[in-house]
Symmetry: C2
Subunit: 797 residues, 2 copies
């Protein structure tokens, strides 16, 4: 019997999207200012659209290629259904559409925020955060809508809408993985391409504008200034949105896969009020309820005082954020108790089946919520203005750029300590509570507030843009002061948001990793097998090389931008006097093309490696399960190393940035107040130059790398998996029995004898094999156990 509950998440997602439309029309109705403001805003909007259009073109080619590959796979491999192609295309389309909504609203909200800031800070916050809310709900709503709609469709298509067995559900979820793969592919373009875009434009604008021509930041005479502002939207809005869209979908998917395995461990079916699929519906339900909770959270974000300072704005955001986290905890309690059997059996590797209560699953979700909250604090500590690590970098700036760089690198490196211990603790605890299902649900609970997190995140770059527009349109200082308050809070939320994004990527990858093992049917990933260990090494290397490629990409793209800006300064008469008009669109075009071109190599690395590891040995006839284990080792290597490099790069970059910013208000070095323009400040600027690609390009790209790697593994899994060769071939009637008898005697001189008899009976014919083993007790035990571990496998006629 089908439960109505299967339709609830979709209804909640639609509710979220309706609220988004209401909020969107409210934002759009706000005064968009006039004259120069509007003109600049339009430039940014058009630049953003130009990037999106170029990205979509490239994306279309990419989606077509991958679709053809997936289609081939689905025709060759019986267990992979061709519907995975449709799911993949729709996953890509949904994510792209969510990004589109976000970019458009962000580029429309910025000028409205500037206009509002002319009169009122609370209003400016309301509008900028309203834009963020639209973005957040767009992402979360579309993610849940798409995933649940496809699940319902596949559930009916493959299973007729009723529970049959875990095998059929596996096919449903394997096909659904296409949606997740599509979503994450977009994230590759948006996050990596966007990351290169934003830094290429930023560095290019600064190098020629600030350094060579000596004009201030955001000066309208600088041809790259529009590209720079577009970059904020491309990288921080669309990139972050696609990243979290991907995490959100992948997390829920992985939890559903593991929910299916809970049912398997319980004997293949359960009787509950949800059509027997409660454990599978639970993560979807948490996601759906999370959308509503996020709406409530966003409603709480407001200030009243027009003279509010950063702390009050931050406080308003915190109230919304914490309320939503607490509400998610409450909701998880209710949903876990309501939707799960009171006790479940779960298979723990090496420990056998264990009884797990639904309360323990709830505890696992609490672990996820704690991780989300704590990682933000850790990030804040290592990158926040006025914190000890930042003050240390500031001190080290007095002895030059070299020591500033060393201090920044060391800060990023040391910040991996609490972060990794936190993740390791979370893996351990959530697993101890409820196995890998617990790990996946911890991730799901953390991601439930995605809409709220994105609203807080997106409001930052919107305010940053609003400040840029105020500067370019030469508003009164009070306007810039107000947007600066919002921008400053936005910088903090940007850092903590990055922490949240890493945590989400890490937990998502773990959940995918767990789902992978169950999909392939391997009994674990044993790194004591040399090929697996070799792949662990290779996997560990990939994030390092990927980061280097991303950093180099920024350098190359920035150089192209520098050439173009120099050319315009040289060729356009009157540009410096403000009479000649810079060709903004040319700079936008260069950033767009360069970033998309430069992301190809890291993209190929990300997608190519798992494919090579899977298919080259397959072509050489290597055992499927051995390949699956190798690929698992590779995935683990990428995840461990990727998480480390993400934390290292994000926090080092954030720390350098704020060390530089510290000089704006003045810092005390060796008893002397030191300000902008000092040698120490110049050293700090050098540090920030290094940190820029770290924190905005290579660091955040790690999230995509690790998730996409695990997702590709998951999609390849059925090809390698144990059940792939059964497929549609009919089983002949076969009666097979295998009997292994071990008799073992040990004496007190540590010697033992064992007689191992193996009788194999197949359709009435028996073969007997006897072996006698003698030696020390330990040796005999080892040999007997090695022999006993024989796979019982039904053979086909």
């Amino acid at each position: 019997m089908e439960s109505i509950m299967i339709y609830v998440p979709i209804a909640l997602a639609l509710l979220g999207l309706i609220y988004m439309l209401v909020k969107q029309s409210w934002v759009m109705k706000q005064d968009a200012g006039d004259g120069k403001m509007k003109e600049i805003s339009d430039h940014i909007y058009e630049g953003a659209l130009a990037f999106l259009n170029a990205e979509y073109k490239l994306l279309t080619i990419f989606v077509v290629i991958v679709s053809v590959l997936l289609a081939i796979v689905s025709f060759v491999v019986p267990t992979t259904h061709w519907l995975i192609v449709i799911a993949f295309i729709c996953g890509a389309a949904f994510s792209a559409f969510a990004g589109n909504i976000g970019m458009k609203i962000a580029t429309k909200t910025n000028v409205r925020t500037t206009q509002a800031a002319r009169t009122s800070l609370p209003k400016a916050l309301g509008i900028s955060f309203g834009g963020g809310t639209v973005m957040g709900l767009g992402v979360a709503g579309l993610a849940v809508l798409g995933l649940t709609a496809f699940f319902i469709f596949f559930f009916h298509f493959f299973m007729g809408g009723v529970w049959t067995n875990t095998m059929d559900m596996t096919i449903v979820l394997e096909t659904l993985a296409g949606f997740s793969l599509g979503a994450e592919s977009i994230a590759l373009f948006a996050r990596v391409g966007g990351g290169i875009y934003t830094k290429a434009a930023d560095v290019g604008a600064d190098l020629v504008g600030k350094v060579e021509a000596g004009i201030p930041e955001d000066d309208p005479r600088n041809p790259a200034t529009i590209a720079d502002n577009v970059g904020d939207n491309v990288g921080d809005v669309a990139g972050m949105g696609a990243d979290l869209f991907g995490s959100y979908v992948a997390t829920v998917l992985a939890a559903m896969v593991l929910g299916n395995y809970v049912i398997k461990d319980m004997g293949g079916s359960i009787a509950d009020g949800f059509g027997g699929i409660g454990p599978i519906l639970l993560p979807m339900s948490i996601a759906g309820v999370g959308i509503i909770i996020s709406i409530i959270g966003t409603m709480l974000v407001k200030i009243k005082n027009n003279d509010a300072k950063e702390s009050q704005v931050m406080g308003a955001l915190n109230i919304g954020n914490w309320t939503s986290i607490v509400l998610v905890a409450v909701a998880c309690f209710g949903l876990c108790v309501w939707m799960l059997p009171e006790t479940m059996q779960m298979e723990f590797f090496g420990e056998g089946l264990q009884e797990i209560s639904s309360m323990r699953v709830f505890y696992a979700t609490l672990v996820g919520l704690v991780v989300g909250a704590v990682i933000s604090s850790v990030t804040e500590y290592y990158t926040g203005l006025g914190k000890k690590p930042i003050l240390k970098i500031v001190q080290q700036s007095s002895t030059g750029a070299g020591t500033n760089i060393i201090a920044g690198l060391a800060t990023g490196m040391i910040s991996t300590f609490p972060s990794v211990l936190l993740f390791a603790g979370a893996i351990w605890a959530s697993y101890a509570f409820a196995g890998f299902y617990g790990v996946a649900l911890a991730a799901s609970a953390m991601m439930a507030t995605t809409a709220m997190q994105l609203a807080i995140d997106a409001f930052g770059p919107i305010s940053d843009n609003a400040g840029g527009i105020a500067e370019m349109s030469e508003q009164e200082p009070i306007v810039r002061e107000r947007t600066d308050i919002l921008d400053s809070v936005g910088n903090t939320t940007a850092a903590t948001g990055k922490g949240f994004a890493i945590a989400s990527a890490a937990l998502t990858s773990l959940a995918l990793f767990a789902a992978y093992v169950t999909f392939t049917g391997i009994d674990g990933i044993n790194i004591f097998k040399a090929p697996v260990l070799a792949m662990l090494f290779v996997g560990g290397m990939v994030p390092v090389v990927f980061s280097a490629l991303a950093m180099n990409a920024v350098g190359k793209a920035a150089m192209e931008m520098v050439q173009e800006v120099r050319r315009q300064f040289r060729d356009i008469p009157g540009i410096m006097e403000g009479t000649g008009k810079p060709e903004y669109d040319k700079c936008v075009a260069i950033s767009t093309e360069a970033s998309l071109k430069q992301m190809l190599l890291p993209g190929v690395l990300t997608i190519g490696f798992p494919l090579v590891i899977a298919f080259v040995p397959l072509a050489f006839g290597m055992n499927n399960l051995a390949i699956a284990e190798m690929l698992g080792g590779y995935m683990a290597g990428v995840t461990v190393s990727g998480v480390l490099w993400a934390i290292f790069q994000n926090n080092a970059g954030g720390a350098w940035d704020n060390a530089k910013k510290s000089f704006e208000a003045g810092v005390m070095i060796n008893g002397e107040m030191t300000y902008k323009g000092s040698d120490a400040h110049k050293a700090a600027v050098t540090g920030d130059t290094v940190g820029d690609p770290f924190k905005d390009t290579s660091g955040p790209s790690m999230n995509i790398l690790i998730k996409l790697t695990c997702l590709i593994g998951l999609v390849i899994a059925p090809i390698l998996g144990g059940h792939s060769d059964e497929g549609e071939t009919a089983f002949a009637k076969a009666e097979i029995s295998k009997e292994i008898r071990v008799e073992m005697n040990a004496t007190d001189d540590n010697q033992a004898t064992a007689v191992v008899t193996t009788v194999t009976t197949k359709n009435g014919e028996s073969t007997t094999d006897e072996k006698v083993i003698t030696g020390t007790t330990e040796e005999v035990e080892a040999q007997v156990n090695a022999m006993k571990n024989v796979e019982v496998k039904v053979e086909k006629n």
Copy 2:
């Protein structure tokens, strides 16, 4: 029957040590110059001794503490014998003694090289390389002598000098692990402490001398200049020596452990002409023969032409190096064929027993030799003067320190690509040839030329020192020119030597890792178990944090040095005019104390983490084998991440260094020749400042971190291991049999039924347990296999 072959390695080691004494007395007989030269040389000698003495004091405390801990363990745990304490102390003493020999000869050879360089370049090479040879043979000779002597002693003590069974041999080798642990502990002090010392002195001398006072490098007026020259010996001679001493011993030990397991896989005993321990003796024999081959190799290193250039000197070194590598290959062929059974059985995880011929073991040793050669070329490519990556960093220096730093970081990061693929390929290939025994023998073969490698390595800092003495004692320019040729070659060999050291550490760790698994008796390390995965994360983090601590340590120690140099410039009258005498010893004392103090935290991190992971869960009553698997996950994490960070940091540091040096001869940037003193050069100097601790402190420390982690694991292994609770407790007569009968039926609708009957009989009493499982074929199979995998374990009464 005992074979004479067991005494051959010890004889070869003694032969090597005798040749060392001959060479040493030859070097000491050379003219040591006079007056100022001698005075400066004496200062360096005394400074080096001061460091050694301070180090020994701290070491003694450390050795006492660890000895007490080991003694406690040996009394509590039955399988750990108290002789491990003696082995540990002697391992530490041998390594310290080898370091002592090396430091003394290096600081005596430097001035003799300067003196020789006044008349003849060939003679200067002969003397400096002669000093290196003494160092190399001291390390290799003492390593083989100590290890083999203890092996013979324990073999007689525990087994009466004849083969009994693999269990007894395991106890021999477990006790022998103490020697290796002792050696590696010294390496921690010498490599990490030495690395901090050398950079603190270098940075301190430069910051005040070159930058503040404007006097040239190696100027005798600079109070830190002696400390700086001592540092070259402390870091590059003693540090490198202790590092390779540790690798050498650990590799041979691990190969012996795995050789014992080959015998175990072959049924517990073999009949060969070597008392049944051919596979265990082989790695020792390769090491012994390697010493003689190294002597032959060093004899080939000579030039005739007094006007020789770098390429000719390099050529002479290459001839010696390549000859010794080829000879080792030939020796490995002979030894493998002679000492091993023609075919062996080896257990491959997941694949069961396989027949392995002795030729395949030889192929595995070839893999090791290839890795040693190729990694040097890779390192040379990424860090060599005039190579593409260096030229790119030079180009990027033109746009400032920021872009220089990014380019250097990216170069180091990308260099992990070929290096890791090489290691991964080596693991795979040597394992495919001959299992983990093959991996360990690959490492042993590579390490066989350790004496030659160290001679090449140590000759660099000796020549560097010789140049410094020429400068300080104001010799004619031709002297410095000649020592500069040697120094320049020495810089290249230093870079490739670091590559060799990483490769040796990586392969050693893998071999130890393999030995660990066999010691504990776990059936692999399954990272799909969440606690194991969590520890993999934690292990991955430790090298990153360790590196940061080491970098910060350099900064702190350098600051103390800066204060002292400033004080002397201020307080000592006439110091700048050359009339006042700087207090060199105070600077030496500061470097010494600061470096040893600062290495404590990273040292505690290295030693503490594995202990916490092992003993905290043990205290909470966690299952031994589960802990062993977790610790294995931690070891794998440290190894993978440590190798990556070692390559990254060493190569980035080397690349920055040579990018800076490129400016000395002038480089072409944007069509213009650019020299020292240009802005681009200043940017490159900043890069080198960052690179210094990378390549000389934190990078090389990774070797110690990963080896020591794996060694501590190996020493803890018996405590966690499967056979630890048997110990000396007598077995009661127990007759236990366990019979597992599986009958499985499958029908063509993909449904199956299995009846699993388990009959356990213990001293006549039987208990029967029957379970019926139904479901889809796949589910039944999975459940049956999970049940069947029951450990047969003899229980004690």
